[in-house]
């Protein structure tokens, strides 16, 4: 009997690029881990890919179909956090495992979590701890934040503040600026941020927490360096980070950049991806790969696809990924992973040669709080 | 005290920018009479109708129906008070059939517009009335033809049919016979004559054909540049110099 896995992703719509990466990464992961045989313990692996168009209701319906009609053993998905959240109860109702990748919302492994949910993607809090870890550990640091004015932005800022409190007590957030979700003109925001920071002592940083079209160049063009203010952006997919090139020296944190992790899996992925797609693997390629690895490692360990056995096997399980070894935390099934502190390169070799590694932040230096009610 | 006239205007005035289209027109129309309103093109006849029926807001003055001030009411409310209006430039529901056009007018009269749950096609009362009206204007053969496929003259007849179907107290005809062929005209003129004969209706008629005016009107009101310049018996008014020159364009009375 085949092992059936459903991969649900928002393959059409504005995040088409993300979904493509996830799918490519997932398939390459299976290929690598099964050494090209696409079979495990003699059972063929059958992947059913479904497009939820980033719609929560569709994602939910598709997952129901996957469990009921296609009778998959476990499912992986999806791109949008809203869609992923809507999928969570379906896993519980059907009593089957769902590996969430690459949706980031904290609530997935937080308040909306149930025991069938595992996540290989990083969550927003991990990003926040990464960002906090990239802030100097000593001296006066004054921080202002710029985020979108909706739940994701506000949660992001809150997470950053608690992360700073936890690991960088020397840094203070003095100002929070929220811009409309679809804002295009940031002059007013920038003015307010500059006004808030310019007279402060020590290192002055604007942390940008943003989903979608990045305001970085708009802020940078208004010359924050006049006041000695630095900007710290988060990581992003490669095409989006190409803008960073114009601002060498800028520092921030990221969870995957193809040149950073040193392990055979990543080496293979980078080489193979370059060969097949003419570009290095990106953010979500690594994510997809990790999800594949989690699934196969679990099935192998559980000796089959029985959901209860899978859950038992996966709780606390470590598995190898291009991002390095990851571990599903027992309490909330969130996979923990390393983060990287980067600095933007002055002169890259090519358009994707963007970042220099400043520091690797090991997973145990990131005390991500457990937020689910178990 | 005399009973209030069916329709009265007091100092009715409207200005468009610098142009005074209707200038301080006061006039009473008693029921049972047919008043012809004549005047050169652009004299303000249609505008006067628009002010009475509410399509235009007056700059000054009042419109009274049976003594009640309706100046601030919407056209629909005035129609409910019994002011009925046919238009100079044909103005119908182009894609509904002739019968449905008339039926809408009948229905408005029957106050059935807010009935949500009865079935329109089984309202025999409305249909029969509408068919009767179509027969009166001799359009019964065209009952299923939409106005967009009617010739100009037939559209004019339908326009009149709508007005009749509304059964108003005040009938306002704006050149009902324009574009109607000579052999069709008697039908419409007879209709207007019948309405007048009934005695309880007030008819206002704008018409450029003097023979029509002569044969129908009890009274003639002359508008000129928006001002009321003559009012009285048909014969006297027609003979007055202002009508002879400004309207008929005759040097002396040779018409």
């Amino acid at each position: 009997q085949d092992i059936k896995i459903a991969l649900i992703a928002g393959k059409t719509g504005p995040l088409e690029a993300y979904a493509k990466q996830t799918e490519a990464g997932f398939m390459m992961g299976l290929e690598y881990l099964t050494k090209g045989s696409m079979a495990l313990n003699g059972r063929k692996i059958n992947v059913i890919v479904k497009d939820d168009q980033l719609k929560a209701d569709l994602a939910k319906t598709l997952l129901e179909q996957a469990y009921n009609d296609d009778k998959v053993d476990l499912a992986v998905g999806t791109t949008s956090s809203a869609a992923a959240l809507a999928m969570l109860p379906v896993a519980e109702e059907n009593g089957k495992v769902l590996i969430v990748e690459p949706a980031v919302a904290d609530a997935i492994t937080g308040e909306k979590w149930n025991r069938f949910i595992f996540r290989t993607a990083r969550n927003s809090t991990q990003d926040a701890y990464g960002a906090a870890a990239a802030v100097p550990a000593t001296g006066d640091v004054t921080i202002a934040t710029l985020a979108q004015d909706y739940a994701f932005g506000r949660d992001g800022v809150a997470a950053l503040k608690s992360a700073l409190a936890a690991i960088r007590p020397n840094a203070k957030v003095v100002f929070e600026e929220y811009a409309p979700q679809n804002a295009t003109d940031f002059t007013a925001s920038a003015q307010r941020l500059f006004d808030a920071l310019k007279d402060k002592p020590g290192k002055k940083i604007i942390e940008i927490i943003w989903a979608g079209q990045h305001p970085l160049p708009k802020i940078a063009d208004l010359k924050p360096e006049r006041y000695g203010i630095e900007i710290a952006p988060g990581g992003n997919i490669l095409p989006a980070m190409q803008i960073y090139k114009n601002y060498p020296g800028m520092e921030g944190a990221i969870y995957y950049y193809y040149a950073f992790p040193k392990n055979p899996m990543n080496d293979w992925l980078v080489a193979e991806h370059q060969k097949r797609y003419g570009a290095p693997p990106d953010f979500f390629t690594a994510g997809g790969f990790a999800a594949a690895s989690a699934a196969l490692t679990a099935i192998e360990k559980a000796g089959g696809t029985d959901p209860e056995k899978l859950i038992q096997a996966m709780e606390g399980m470590s598995f190898e990924t291009p991002k390095g070894t990851m571990t599903f935390r027992k309490e909330d099934h969130q996979a923990l992973q390393v983060m990287y502190h980067f600095k933007v390169k002055a002169e890259g070799k090519d358009q994707n040669d963007l970042l220099d590694l400043v520091d690797t932040i090991p997973a145990d230096k990131l005390p991500i709080p457990v937020r689910n009610k178990r | 005290m005399l009973p209030a006239p069916a329709l009265e205007t007091r100092g009715l005035t409207v200005r468009f920018g610098g142009h005074v289209a209707v200038n301080d027109v006061s006039c009473r129309f008693t029921s049972g009479t047919l008043t012809a309103i004549v005047g050169p093109n652009g004299a303000g006849k249609t505008t006067y109708f628009n002010l009475i029926s509410g399509q235009l807001r007056a700059s000054a003055g009042q419109v009274l129906v049976e003594g009640a001030d309706v100046t601030n009411l919407a056209p629909s409310a005035r129609a409910k008070r019994g002011l009925g209006r046919a238009f100079q430039l044909t103005n119908l529901f182009p894609h509904l059939t002739a019968l449905e056009n008339v039926r809408l007018a009948v229905q408005s009269r029957a106050e059935a517009g807010w009935s949500f749950l009865s079935i329109w096609n089984s309202r025999r009362d409305l249909i029969e009335k509408a068919e009767a009206v179509l027969e009166r204007v001799r359009l019964e053969d065209q009952r299923n033809v939409p106005p967009s496929a009617l010739s100009h003259g037939d559209q004019r007849k339908l326009e009149v049919a709508l007005l009749i179907a509304m059964e108003p107290k005040v009938f306002m005809f704006d050149e009902p016979t324009a574009g109607m062929s000579v052999d069709e005209m008697p039908t419409v003129l007879e209709l207007i004559h019948d309405i007048k004969q009934r005695g309880d209706a007030t008819v206002l008629l704008v018409e450029h054909k003097m023979d029509v005016v002569r044969s129908l009107a009890d009274r003639i009101v002359v508008l000129h540049n928006g001002t009321l310049v003559a009012d009285g018996e048909p014969a006297t008014v027609i003979a007055s110099p202002v009508v002879q020159e400004a309207y008929l364009g005759l040097e002396a009375s040779d018409g």
Partner: protein, 340 residues
Amino acid sequence: MSDVAADAANPPLLPRSRTDWLPLILVPVLALAVLPLIGDVSSWVTLTIAGLAMGMMIFLMASGLTLVFGLMDIINFGHGVFISLGAYATLLVLGPLAGWASANSVALNLALLLLCIVVAMVLTGLVGAVFERVIVRPVYGNHLKQILVTMGGLIVTEQAIHAIWGASPIPIPLPETLRGAFVLGDIVMERYRVVAIGIGLLVFAAMQLLLNRTRIGLLIRAGVENPEMVEALGYRIRRLFVSVFVAGSALAGLGGVMWAFYRQTLTAGMGMEVMVLVFIVIIIGGLGSVGGCFVGSVLVALVANYVGFLAPKLALISNILVMALVLIWRPQGLFPVARR
């Protein structure tokens, strides 16, 4: 004709309706009114200039739509994709001429921008012609069908962009010398915005001239009301309609280029994203009025900046707020275009 008749029929000529200045004063009045609220003059200048420039870019993106609507009574919901298309057209120039962008020469950089604009306008103009021919022509006079059909065209074109250039966002470099800002004391003016103001004013002036000084505008307005009659007067109205549609599309392309360099990232949906803003602007202006569109754009952009500075919580709805206020004041928009 007798004397009486002649006299009566010869009252003085009525004057033409006068230009309506009130909406034009609105912008400077608003700008001055917020000065005391902002307090700091340099912040005010920075915000005002940035707002003006943003207004120009919005105007460039919206002008084509309002032109096509105002002249032809066609509501093109696919307008947004022409903006995207214009933006992507820059790639055709930036590919071979990448050197011009990184060159540290104002002349070369501006020439590059100009070239991008020309290429984009040609491309969107051509696609516009196809659009008009294949999609829009059969539905003249029917707004609903126009909305549907152009929406279909939008989806198809957007997918074509995906198919040709891929789904990932594409970063594009702003030419070297247009980057950064002029700094005068505490006032900053982004260089690119200064360029945008220039181009916006130029296009506005050109449109005004063309529409008011030639008979093209007349002919098209007449043709929309009654194409049969215009043909019966001996004009080949079809051709003109195509040209207007092409012009509208080309303007969208121009707007797209300006927007692309502003955002520095291309996505197929970038045009669609600004459409609600564009619609708001042309409603404020009075559907179909180019002048109104201009004032509306500047108004919306300035208010967005001021509100964003003074009360960022309200920034989210500032556009809709402006629209509501304008509509309460003038229910048909600032410069209503009479029709029907």
